[in-house]
């Protein structure tokens, strides 16, 4: 296999990964923008069609252009307040109610001993 073929394959692989990650982010963002699930399904299939439309483009530079263009669009329309899973950084539960350090015992019935 010649060097140029290797270079071509490496560039193709990098482009494919960029497209996968872009599609993943765009799909997640579509879900963020959708107010209801049933609206999301339509939006998601529209998004998929936009990706499928350029499926058969062969020229490497054109592909790079298309990807850069799509990434710019994604950045422009990113949701300002996306959904974040509660425990993840930025989520509502992040660092809230952490487990107590080892060696410290919680007395759950503190102050209620007399009433029993």
């Amino acid at each position: 296999m010649s060097l140029s073929t290797l270079g071509y394959l490496a560039r193709r692989a990098a482009q494919k990964e960029r497209v996968r990650i872009l599609y993943r982010r765009a799909l997640r963002d579509t879900l963020n923008w959708a107010v209801h699930r049933h609206l999301f399904y339509q939006d998601a299939s529209d998004l998929r069609e936009r990706f499928e439309a350029n499926k058969h483009v062969e020229d490497l530079d054109t592909i790079d252009h298309l990807i850069a263009d799509a990434e710019a669009q994604y950045e422009k329309w990113r949701h300002p307040d996306p959904y974040i899973v509660p425990w993840a950084p930025g989520g509502t539960k992040f660092t809230r109610n952490p487990p107590p350090p080892s060696g410290i015992e919680i007395v759950y019935d503190y102050g209620k001993e007399e009433n029993e």
């Binding site: 996968r20 993943r24 019935d109």
Partner: protein, 124 residues
Amino acid sequence: MAASLRPAILRHIRLPVRPQGQPVLPSWLSSIRAMSGHGDDHLTREEVVDRVLDVVKSFPKVNPSKVTAEVHFQKDLGLDSLDVVEIVMALEEEFKLEIPDKEADKIDSCPLAIEYIANHPMAG
């Protein structure tokens, strides 16, 4: 005097007996603690396998009879790379996870997905 007083006092004192070691939780409190999510409620591996297979089988482009715990999404199920992205996102929603993009990109088969989710401390 003290010797006769001692049994008389002891007969009137009542102390609640309580097992040493574990604190006794009122029932309402234990239900609250269960929701605090300290990550100690791990999923069993069988449950992870079941739910992963359910998600993959319910994907529209997949023939459910072909799905087993060993399938590769693209080679065995005939999906393309964007379908795999959709499946991984469905898995994230099923298990309430947030997988970083680079790691999610590596998940391309059922065994990998099961391995990743079963080892994730926050999978629920």
